[in-house]
Amino acid sequence: QSIFVAIFFIFLNEDLREMLESTKESLKLEAMKRIVGLIARGKNASELFPAVVKNVASKNIELKKLVYVYLVRYAEEQQDLALLSISTFQRALKDPNQLIRASALRVLSSIRVPIIVPIMMLAIKEAATDLSPYVRKTAAHAIQKLYSLDADQKEQLIEVIEKLLKDKSTLVAGSVVMAFEEVCPDRIDLIHKNYRKLCNLLVDVEEWGQVVIISMLTRYARTQFISPWKEDGIFDENSEQAFYESDEEKLGTPQSKPYIMDPDHRLLLRNTKPLLQSRNTAVVMSVAQLYWHLAPKQEVGVITKSLVRLLRSHREVQYIVLQNIATMSIQQKGIFEPFMKSFYVRSTDPTHIKTLKLEILTNLANEANISTILREFQTYVKSQDKAFAAATIQAIGRCATNITDVTDTCLNGLVLLLSNRDETVVAESVVVIKKLLQTQPTQHSEIIKHMAKLFDNITVPMARASILWLIGEYCERVPKIAPDVLRKMAKTFTVEEDIVKLQTVNLAAKLYLTNSKQTKLLTQYILNLGKYDQSYDIRDRTRFIRQLIVPNEKSGALSKYARRILLASKPAPMLESTFKDRDRFQLGTLSHTINSKATGYLELSDWPTAAPDSSVRNVEVMEPVKKEISWTFGAPLKSDDKFYSDSGEEEGAGEEGTGSSSEDSSSSSSSSSSNEESDSESEDKNSKHSEETDSSQSDKSSGHSDKKKADKKKRLQLKKKAKKAAPKERYQMHRPPTHHPLTQELWNLRTFTPKMAYTHTGKKKNRKQMVALFLCVQVSSPVFVPMSSHELLHRMTGKGLAAQYHFPRQPCIYGNKMVSVQLTLTNSSDHTLEDISIGEKTSSGQNIHRFSSIERLEPGASVTVSMGIDFNDSTQAANFQLCTKEDQFSVSIQPVVGELFLPVTMTEQDFRKEQGKLQGMNETSATITMAPENTSNQALSKKMVSVANMGVVPTGEDSLYRFAAKSVSSGDLVLVSVDLTDSSSGRLTINTEKTVIGSMLLRDLKTALAQP
């Protein structure tokens, strides 16, 4: 029959070959579909290789994909033929379509043919610098494939990994970290510079990448930060809660803190916390293990709720999560105790889930809840699932040893179970009772008698052996029964199991020593039986016992001590959890689940005793353009520095703050030329700012040192708010952080992705040019955010509702054509205002993103909300209605022209090039006279950026200043240059396609510069 099948397949293959060689696409496709069907069923289709590989260059994309599937499956077996297809892939790697480039790389790197290693290497290097993040992601995957094919390429591959680790795209991050873990997990030094970026990107990375990054960061953190688990257990004041607490509470805290968490350590904990709410169970578990291994003990509690939530998920998920909870609950039972009822067993649970739940319940048992747990256990003992009932009995035994109050109750309960009809239940009870009795040997001879009576009915060997041992051990307490039991055993000795035989010999020996008169003959009989037993274990034991107890001329000194050897008091066995030693493995890992080290398991190192240099994570600033803009953030940092060292913190804390903040800003603008500040600038300071910071510091307390790394914009906001009335502050703090660097990052990505797509569709020739354009228009964070807010609604006209607006100069999160506006609403009336919102109709036709309505605003309270308005690049006012439950007020926001921009960073060359394109009618210029105060370069820059939201362009010339921005709505560039002819006059030039805006800006700048 097998010949039949073989012949049939030959026919089939012939058929398929013909179809593949036909000229009709549809026939070929049909053939490939059938071949893939064969592969899927695990049938061999390798004979068709030559016919299939011809179609690799097919135009039909589905056919091509199926050929790829085939090729990857059989290339290893048919290496020579596979090489024929390589040139096709090399060509496809240059295709303008990114999907085709990526799939070519995927297939090329999946072909496991050693000869093409150099080609793969080249392709990976090329793809790692591809403009499409999707292709770069594929490159990261290809790294691992190449490494598994040829480990000698490691060094070169590490270089590529290093390059890709710097990638800012969320798409790439997970894959490259995966490659890192696979190729060079020990090269922790590659992570330093990318640590903060990875932490900040984490929320936006796809779920699978999150898992990989979190587990890598857990390992990283264990090598780089010092342990937060200090013995004295003083609460870490740096926690988020403390930061939001009101001021008075914190003033009382002691100044000398024993442990200060590294701000980067805190950054990791804070950025992973929201992921506990992920729908992906693997992500939740990985955050949970991160908290378990890295967070201060008192913060670990946040993970419990989420872990308990996972118990609602699929059976397999439950299994893994319960295992991890079991390990955790041994060390910290407190955090799971409130959720005890979630671990109650249902009769429909599979056995392995039931046993795990039981394990956890036992771990959680304490004096307070033991009665509840025991009541629950009583139900379980009656379960139809006998294996589970047996496990319950063991659990009862463990509870009884751990909690001495209930030992007697448990023991009585177990004795009752001895009359159970089920064999396994009885046997398990016997074994557990034996262990329990050992802990309190003085009483309970009644129980031993009872068990001796049961002995005849019990057949499970383990239980019989246990009873024999018990009787032997306490034979002096039951002097009448013990010899009788031995007599019975002598009868049945030959048919017993090995363990029972061993215990019989044991019992005989013990009785011989204590009661030789009655048992001498019996013992000798049993020893004789044992001498000729089939099992050498028993023969061996018999021989040993005989020498030990029966005195003869040959027996040496040992027999004198026989009594002391056999009847020594024995330590009671510990009834311990099987999960006790599981914590040697990192939670959530495969090794933890199987309780043995899996291949490729990476040990979690112990905390270092002294903190390694934290400055390695600082991202250095590469271009010397700090001077002009240094005043922006230099001052507050300077005062931070002083402030923190005053409060007695570690050296370098201030430095740290600076470092991380520069990281924040440089991660939001993706090239290093955007550096707004640097460490060295703290010298230059702006008096206004430092004044503000000082005052706010007296308000704020010293407790939030880790907030140093909170990004600068937020800090500025906070400081500004500190000037306002005290009750306001609370709201400000809780305000949704629309200025979080992540949102900005997000925005950035959104803005440059379409450009990228454009690059690919463009002709190759153009590409270079496009790249240049692409590079030069990166939106950066604002250089300066003015403090002034404008009145929107006066409290008199608003019947108590007052509103002010302010431009935070951040990219708007509601839409990339919108200008973001912050409204501060204050209730200055004496009654609560309800349902404050923006009315449905706008009169002026702008697109407005409304803030969600505010349910209540108490008298005296204020709240800040953000909204987005698309001004269409005009200064026409946006009119809308501010509604409360009772009233409607028409208000309007009149934008200043300078707020319609987003700052842009570019190099000097790019600026010149762009300026060259915007000549003629796109250029407006005017001679300006300047107030003497404005002539210094700092003052001039400051003046300029306070009028308009522009970025500073570095310049090589002394008297020439350049600024760049793009309009929010249309994205057109606006280039401003100031050429100082002498100390008090100069020429102001504006190049932009938006000539109206240009001239308005010119007017504004001119007046501003003339004023002191």
Partner: protein, 418 residues
């Protein structure tokens, strides 16, 4: 990470295999079969099996074992979650995740698996992205394809893949713009013999079906968001908005998706909608037993309790049941030993009752244990926790969508011990 995948049916046939790295012989599944045999029932197979040089991580769904082969350390949940995701994708594509559906669409299955993993690491798993790469099968298209030779595979990279909203495809167009939300709550409870509550909690989900043109930005708010104690979100939900304002703000994926799952805080007392009076006893002699169950409505907040089922797993010695039901009908399966009583609607006036005798195996001792009752029920138009959606707003698009919210409460793992 994930090396290979084998799909195995209940008769231990490997009907599909896929390898993402080098090929692993299917003999590795022998380890699995061994464990499966030992475990007896499919549910009892441990999810992680150590098999020589490999590790097998498996899930069991729709009578299919998804067995993945792992060679080195990986978080097991990562694999389990992924396998479930594969099963859900099949469900999404073929309407069911059954052996026959997979066999019928083996090419699409293969194309999907190829897209979902690259070198064992997930590549594209969002349903919206996958549907742009590989079109789901339908009869019309397969007819058209066979005539024109056009194909089911997309030619360009889905727009979502590169954007920061990978869950939504671009260029969505509908003539009827609709957004439906189903609030589904499940009561998990254990009642003891006397009918008092040992443990009860409410878990809920909001499943959405959103067919809206363009890039709508939705905001869903609740009347009583404080009820929600613990939540998990679809990645589209803006966590910061939830933290600060307790509203769900999101750009939805296109089509069906689970927006939110939640747990109602433990402080709130759970209203148990029904009560059960039961008495199951076995006699010492005569190889028989008695059964008497009465079910009645309790805290139903004025709604009718529908689709009530009582399922009992009887001890092995019970041979048959001779019962009479005053409402609905019952079946006893002597092979699986399950008694199912389909009651239907509960009415206040006449309480349904099931009464009669059980026949036991001759000579067998009376069973020690008493079986527990599993209850199923459904209440339409009611979220048992009292959760209410306040409003749904849409930004970013001009048209007026049709909006709808539906509430259903069900019994989750609802068990009465006897």
């Amino acid at each position: 990470m994930i090396h290979s995948l084998f799909l195995i049916n209940s008769s231990s046939d490997i009907f599909l295999e896929k390898h993402w790295k080098s090929v692993i012989s299917r003999s590795v599944c022998d380890y699995f079969f061994e464990v499966q045999e030992k475990a007896g029932e499919a549910e009892n197979v441990p999810p992680v099996i150590h098999a020589g040089h490999h590790y097998l991580i498996n899930i069991y769904r729709e009578k299919i074992f998804f067995v993945s082969v792992i060679q080195s350390e990986v978080p097991p949940l990562f694999v389990i979650e992924f396998l479930h995701h594969v099963a859900e994708t099949f469900q999404d594509y073929f309407g069911e995740c059954s052996e026959s559906a997979i066999k019928d669409n083996v090419v699409i299955v293969y194309e999907l698996l190829e897209e979902m993993l690259d070198n064992g690491f997930p590549l594209a798993t969002e349903s919206n992205i996958l549907k742009e790469l590989i079109k789901p099968p339908n009869i019309l298209r397969s007819v058209v394809n066979s005539i024109t030779g056009s194909c089911n595979v997309g030619e360009t990279l889905p727009t979502g893949q590169l954007s920061t909203i990978p869950w939504r495809r671009a260029g969505v167009k509908y003539t009827n713009n609709e957004a439906y939300f189903d609030v589904v709550e499940e009561i998990d409870a254990i009642l003891d013999k006397t009918g008092s509550v040992v443990f009860a909690e409410i878990q809920g989900v909001i499943d959405a079906c959103v067919n809206l043109t363009g890039m709508p930005d939705l905001t869903l708010s609740f009347m009583n968001p404080r009820l929600l104690d613990d939540v998990s979100f679809h990645p589209c939900v803006r966590f910061k908005r939830w933290e600060s304002e307790r509203v769900l703000s999101f750009i939805p994926p296109d089509g069906n998706f689970r927006l939110l799952s939640y747990h109602v805080s433990a402080q709130n007392l759970v209203a148990i909608p029904i009560y059960v009076k039961q008495n199951i006893s076995f006699f010492e002699t005569g190889s028989s037993g008695r059964l008497d169950i009465t079910v009645g409505p309790k805290q139903t907040m004025g709604k009718t309790v529908e689709a009530v089922f009582v399922t009992i797993n009887m001890p092995k010695v019970v041979l048959s049941a001779n019962l009479t039901a005053t409402q609905g009908n019952y079946t006893y399966n002597p092979v699986t030993k399950t008694l199912v009583w389909d009651i239907g609607k509960l009415s206040q006036q006449k309480l349904p009752n099931l009464k009669g005798s059980l026949t036991l195996q001759c000579g067998a001792p009376k069973p020690e244990e008493s079986p527990s009752l599993n209850i199923d029920l459904k209440i339409q138009q009611l979220a048992i926790s009292g959760l209410k959606v306040n409003r749904l707003d849409m930004y970013g698009e001009k048209y007026k969508p049709f909006k709808g919210v539906k509430y259903v409460s069900k019994a989750g793992k609802f068990q009465v011990r006897t």
